[in-house]
Subunit: 209 residues, 2 copies
Amino acid sequence: MKLQLAIDELSLEQALIQVDKLKQYIDIVEIGTPFLIDAGRKAVEQMKRKFPELEILCDAKIMDAGAYEAQLAYDAGADYVTVLGITDDLTIKGCVEQAKKQGRKVMVDMICVKDFATRIPALEELGVDVIAVHTGADQQQAGRTPIEDLIEMKKYVKKAQIAVAGGINSKTVEDYMALQPDIVIVGSGILNAVDPVHEVELVHRLLTD
Amino acid sequence: MKLQLAIDELSLEQALIQVDKLKQYIDIVEIGTPFLIDAGRKAVEQMKRKFPELEILCDAKIMDAGAYEAQLAYDAGADYVTVLGITDDLTIKGCVEQAKKQGRKVMVDMICVKDFATRIPALEELGVDVIAVHTGADQQQAGRTPIEDLIEMKKYVKKAQIAVAGGINSKTVEDYMALQPDIVIVGSGILNAVDPVHEVELVHRLLTD
């Protein structure tokens, strides 16, 4: 089970310092969407250059121009790029073709996708690598968690890897582990903790025990 | 009728040079999604600083964390930010609240929204400023244009402004003008023309005649 650290609200400088402190406990560094709006592809480039031993995910949430935008992310050094599950099949196809060309991966963000029973088989048919259950920040504010969606998604995923994101921390991570996702995504649960190193260590220990 | 120049595939340096040549013919400069992935908010900042007389749109295609991501764009100097019409109402509400706080505008990108009859009234109720018909680059490749969607959308929009985007150029712009949108968005139609200044002049003349 991999641990993905999602960075959303740090500057590039702060992010590089934090990842340096936390790197031994994480597998994937996520350049989150607001972080990408803030710093652009430079964030992916510098993170990959400084931490070549970690995988980098560019959370571009691609909605159009799949091949072109995926290429931008992969050329900057991203191992994974995200595409929105709600978008057109042509866009997802463009991302997958680009990923295969470059030997990288596509993660589908299922935020706002309602019909898992028909969408998940279609996404697997398109050849995506990872399907991510994601309860967005705005939905979390309204009290939702990704646990029910993860249970529901498990029914339909046959071959893709499964990731889960949405307000997970050391107190809740075991609820998710019971459902055996391949990637657990934690952001503010670690980065906004009083002691991020202690928190990441806790999460990491739970994931690897 | 305003003309919005969408910049998707230029570097920041190239974009600043092009806008300098084309500025007298355009009203809004769009920092397109791939351009934003490439350069980050610096693209919005530098464009606004160099061309304070033009409006700047940040095509962030917000899907989550509405207030936070809109604030990033507005703080960088954007007059408009885009949010996806397909996303959660809570996210759109966050963008609108941030826009009102800062005296800026929200444009909704209707890409992949299927049910205009129910979605458009809901978006107007949420207080968005502009609703944009958008046939994505991947759908254009498959032969679609935004004209039918614009006709359909006109039936439901009561108070928001209307924008239209998707492969428009000087040869096709009059078809759109007949439907009286408030903002016409042209990107590669101008920037990939043999003579972009001539092309933008043509489009501008048609729009203002």
